[in-house]
Amino acid sequence: MSDAAGIGHSTRRLGGIERVTGAQKYAADLRLDNVLHVKLVTLPCARAGIKAIDISDAARVSGVRCVMTAADLPQPVPLFGPVYADRPVLAGAETKFFGEPVAAVAAETKDAAEDAASLIHVDYEQLPAVLTIDAALDPASPLVQDAALRKPGPLAATNTLEAWQFGWGNLRDAHAECVIEHDYVFPMVTHFAIEPHAFLAAPDEHGVTIWSPIQHPYVLQRVVAAALKWPLSRVRIIAPDPGGGFGGKGWPKFEPLMAFLALRTGRPVRLVLTLEETFQAVRRTSARVGARTGFDRSGAIVFQDLEANFLIGAYADIGARVVSKASYCACGPYKTPHARIVARALLSHTTPSTAFRGFGTPQASWAVESQLDDAARQLGIDRVEIRRRNLPDKGQAFIPNDTPADGEWPLALAKAAEAIGWTTPISPHHGRGVAIGLKSSSTASASFALARMHYDSSVTILSGTSDMGQGARTVLAQIAAEALGIPVDRVAMVMGDTSVVPFDSSTSASRSTVFMGNAVLKACESIKTQLRTIAAAAYQIAEASVAVDDGLVRMPGREMTYAELLHAHFGPPRGELIGVGEERNAFDASHPLGGKPSFWEMMCAAAEVEVDVETGMVHVRRLVLVSDIGKALNPQQVEAQDEGAAVMGLGHTLMEHLILDDSGRIRNLGSLDYRIPTIEDIPLHLESILIENADGPGPYGAKGAGEGGILAIAAAIGSAVREATGVTIRELPLTPERIWRAMQQPLHPK
């Protein structure tokens, strides 16, 4: 189909009109009759020993219907989590991070809930907290988690939740002529979706319904059912479109608590977090990556020896998976004959870190890419050229026994260099940088979709994907429209309700276009097969002589619309066709990550900055992004994802970091003191270039997109700042203060 509704065209966003008119209902916009408002009670320190909780004043506040503490929950208090069930529904004897609730109030009004929460008196003792990577590695530090509750083994009595060693080749055989060794620090940052988290729950005739802007409704269903010790069928998740996710809405947070509150009160309950509470609920893991990289004289990488320590939070959430997945691919997109990657997920008394766009890769990329810059300078090789020499060509393996390079990565590098004007003269106090990020996509996962062709041949697609702004609803509708040869406005997308849509693993890892897209495609192919079968039976001809396309059923000497055939087939009782699509990558126990990535998400970023040498302020003047996307099903959406991810990357590169005090409190809690990029911080030249060879595993040759833009921003900007100022800073963010101070060093060549 070649009209503007089809593949490769920038179809307008489905749900767009609702979003520009205020009609879109986000979780906090939902109104439930008879609802109780919930407020959480937290303490002003990370780790506290709870002696007593006095709820008597709170319980007397007019309108209060329930004050819940850990003592009111089933004993022992249910623990939950997507991988490790290690997080209590409410803290009992001890809190483990700043913001962990010790009680919850449910009241008739928000005011009453807030008043009552402020009247709960907690007698507690502040305890020493583990807040840094060094403290977490120190055997003398207190244990964040009770060793008796940990997986038995040598790590149980340490603060290392999990440790990995990946690699290939043999470092002892590696002879390098140039060895670069440095540590790189990546800050603790928060997602700062503009929509703070909101949760509602209500008892229903089967069990409980939960409304949450969750990216992965089926993960939430599983986790809540496990906490309640109920079958999955009794837990219904309704997932309104998130107002921004970025990984921060991927994994369960307060939904188990809300389920218990709804069941205890027998009423619908509603909790809308403040932005400050959201800061305390989700963050990205911070990291320190020690990198020792060997090169030969030509700049070819001989070995990479990486030690990556990630500071995850008090509970595992999905933190361990972030660390293992990013670390396995930490050597980047480069041919590395010998590699050793030691990685640790370190528990700490901080907000449980969770998925965040890029899933650990930006932390590793900051180190590995900056090492290449050092080597280029030391060996007298151009920074673009040293990357070109190490990039694999399409089809070439770069991690042994894994998915080979699946795109034109050297071409992407060349296009980025050209677009940024790499070889043109540079103005004073300006600098350019280039870097490449590479992320493993979804490994073992599954998506199911249903296509229902109604009697009039319009179609409803049922899909468990969440549309958090990436535009999945639009792209999936485009895929269905293209596959069936019907206009997009004849396709209705139904998403976000586990009682209605079939199973989907997750909306993560840039996987939806490929996995759910293929599931939708297969469901639509099934519909077309059924149309052929019906036509062949109705007109007594061979199925092979029936063609179904462009909204028409064509047979020798006869042509009819889908609707005409459906009318002829079903007659007055009417009916519909139902197609099922299933796309799965099976679990592979022999692979370090449980399976090879179905595609690589690669992004080459090139930046030009201007540094104000009087203040150390960095102005990003130009930013170019080049990805190998396979096929852009909706180019405008792909470009917007690339640009948005890159600007988000400017945040952790230049300004964002959560600052903790000695008690583990976040000092810059909220938007006044924690800055994210504004419209004044973006480069006015921001360009996304797409390489399209229709060579991806998704529909019409698509690969996934959405995270690439963030992967390599820090190293590209860092390199540009170094060229502009002569200073090298290996700790993010590159704040004006850090740059200015570095420039004041006496040896700094101005």
Binding site: G16, I17, I194, G244, V647, P677
Partner: protein, 161 residues
């Protein structure tokens, strides 16, 4: 200890052209009254301290953070929210331009962004790019569709010329 809820005060507001009398509590913000009492949930709450712009509405034609204005302070004033931005049931030029230029991603910041842009174009019908940036500097978008938002505002300004 008991907390006595103060008696609500009746105030009159003109919201999206309709004259309304609402009983409000003295400590409730205009944002809370719009969302919780008038069910005008198109106006969003994020930071609740005047930094993110998600709650931007027009108060007598000026873009303000409705989280920083007490409802009682808006007594007698003319308020326009995102629900009142359309022109006789059709999308305003800005709304259409946001869709055309792909400026809308998750959409949560968009109502505030559109109200700020409406105010900007009302006072400066042909803004330069730096003027658009300055006019929208108080509105955060974490999807960071900023460059597309700038393009959309420029296009809407051109269209209204």
């Amino acid at each position: 200890m008991t907390i006595v809820e103060p008696t609500p005060l009746p105030i009159t507001l003109r919201v999206n052209g309709r004259l309304l009398t609402v009983d409000v509590r003295a400590h409730h913000t205009l944002l809370e009254v719009l969302r919780d009492q008038l069910q005008l949930t198109g106006t969003k709450e994020c930071c609740a301290e005047g930094e993110c712009g998600a709650c931007t509405v027009l108060l007598d034609g000026r873009a303000i953070n409705s989280c920083l204005v007490l409802a009682v302070e808006a007594e007698g004033q003319n308020i326009v929210t995102i629900e009142g931005l359309d022109v006789n049931g059709r999308l305003a030029a800005l709304q259409d331009a946001f869709l055309e230029h792909g400026a809308v991603q998750c959409g949560f910041c968009i109502p505030g962004m559109l109200m700020a842009a409406t105010s900007l174009l009302a006072t400066n019908p042909e803004p330069t790019v730096p003027e658009i940036q300055e006019g929208l500097a108080g509105n955060l978008c974490r999807c960071a569709g900023y460059s597309r938002i700038i393009a959309a505002v420029s296009a809407a300004a051109r269209a209204s010329r």
